[in-house]
């Protein structure tokens, strides 16, 4: 009970700190403008306007989220260590796991807020495009699927965030942590592709016959492409509630595991 309260206070202050950061609003405003560019971009296409609009809107949200994780989130984490702000927190009865979890939840809340704001602005621009070109509205288009796709987008950001926390707990330099986090993000993003190439193609070069290895890898690195539901949203394809719940569970358990590992590594770290 006490532990949960402490985590909550840490999360709340991290969130406040982030929200008052100018960088957050700069990125969010840029992104909101970007989603508005939807109006311009989609008119460049003479077919499938509706689909382009939906995909574009969701991509803008995804891209912004990544910027927020890698710049704002990592900056807040790095400053804690670099400027030894962490002393202020860890000189109190706060354990490492409470500290890391609190930070993680606080940053995830910032991401959620950004996702909601950008989701709304993307929805507005999508709404406008779909209204303007009613003929291009994808058949079976559903806002519910869009919202679910947006939530999945956020979940994938949360996994990337957990990954960054892990990188921080063993890298000595924040820059190295950033590099590690970005590269594991890229690997995670392409995991499904690699897996499919190797499993379905008997002539997959060096990795041929290494299906097991690749499958194992796809379990170690987060399979981020699973969370990419832009296509489903754009084409109004069915996206079952069951799959959605499974994805949520995957994101939560994967992040929890990463945070657990981060705690183990962090305990051995010297803070000076």
């Amino acid at each position: 009970m006490q532990a949960l309260r402490k985590i909550w206070f840490l999360a709340l202050s991290t969130c406040t700190e982030g929200i008052r950061h100018r960088a957050l609003w700069a990125i969010v405003c840029m992104a909101a403008l970007l989603t508005m560019a939807n109006l311009g971009v989609t008119t460049l296409y003479s077919w499938d306007l509706g689909k382009v609009s939906v995909e574009f809107g969701l991509s803008a949200v995804a891209f912004t989220g990544l910027l927020l994780v890698f710049f704002l989130g990592m900056k807040i984490l790095a400053d804690d260590l670099e400027r030894s702000r962490i002393f202020m927190l860890l000189s109190r009865p706060v354990s490492i796991w409470q500290y890391l979890t609190g930070k993680f939840i606080g940053l995830a809340m910032i991401l959620l807020l950004a996702t909601i704001i950008l989701g709304l602005s993307a929805a507005l621009s999508m709404r406008y495009v779909l209204w303007l070109y009613a003929a291009f509205v994808p058949p079976d288009f559903s806002w519910l699927t869009c919202v679910m796709a947006l939530v999945c987008q956020w979940l994938s950001l949360v996994v990337v965030l957990a990954l960054s926390v892990l990188c921080f707990s063993f890298a000595r330099q924040p820059f190295v942590a950033l590099l590690l986090a970005v590269s594991s993000y890229l690997v995670g993003q392409n995991m499904e592709l690699l897996r499919r190439v190797v499993v379905e193609n008997p002539q997959a070069g060096a990795l041929a016959g290494q299906e097991q290895l690749v499958v194992a890898l796809s379990w170690i690195f987060p399979n981020l492409s699973l969370f990419d539901k832009k296509y489903e949203a754009a084409y109004g394809m069915a996206f079952s509630g069951q799959e959605f719940v499974l994805l949520c569970l995957y994101a939560i358990s994967y992040s929890a595991l990463l945070l657990y590992l981060a705690t183990l590594l962090f305990r051995r770290k010297e803070l000076a």
């Binding site: 206070f9 202050s13 002393f87 202020m88 000189s91 010297e270 803070l271």
Partner: protein
Amino acid sequence: MTYPAIEINHLRKGFGSGRKKNQALSNLSLSIQPGEVFGFLGPNGAGKSTTIKLLLHFLKPDHGSLHILGKAVGQEEFRHRIGYLSEFPVFYDHLTAGETLLLSGRLSGMTRQAIDQRIPMLLERMNLTEAADRRVGGFSKGMKQRLGMANALVHDPAVLIFDEPMSGLDPVGRHQIKGLIAELKQEGKTIFFSSHILSDIEALCDRIGIIHKGVLLYSGGLRDFLVAGVGLEESFVQIIEEADRASFA
């Protein structure tokens, strides 16, 4: 059975490894009784801050043990009973002074009610009342130092560990901190602090420890240290020079 407030036994700590190894502390033992004001002096790079970081388990010792109020550092929880002021207090730039203290109080397990009573009093004591709702990012060095002091005292701990509490303060601020330490002593708190300002040490401390290049040169009563007729400054310089000569010989 009463425990010493702080007990350090055969502490060793080095940074780096191999030939580049820098032995920051070698075989340091200290014991500080409850209610004592202990001054920790030494030239720059002597190992004062390292000792303090080891006490809070920010650094892990290579050898030796540390106990605070009878609890083994790193194994048992004691942090709700100590207040710590770091050498360079850093806070969240975008939180206000009040919010910073609120977070600290909360993390130390205080109730909201107790915190709400204590914060205005501490801010007043540290001359920060006007700055209570300002963001800490805009504070001057001395203001941060004073906020750090308030932050260390928010949960009214029994043992206080200050790393250079007077640095960056104007003469009025220094005078206030001196008064505060004297007051805390009256209340029966144990205070362990490092400082370069010998006159403050002379005015406040019961006992002192002198450390140089990671070696404890002296620990004991302040009066016993002062060679008859000479001030603390002369005695301090003398013992450091002697140690340097001995290490060259």
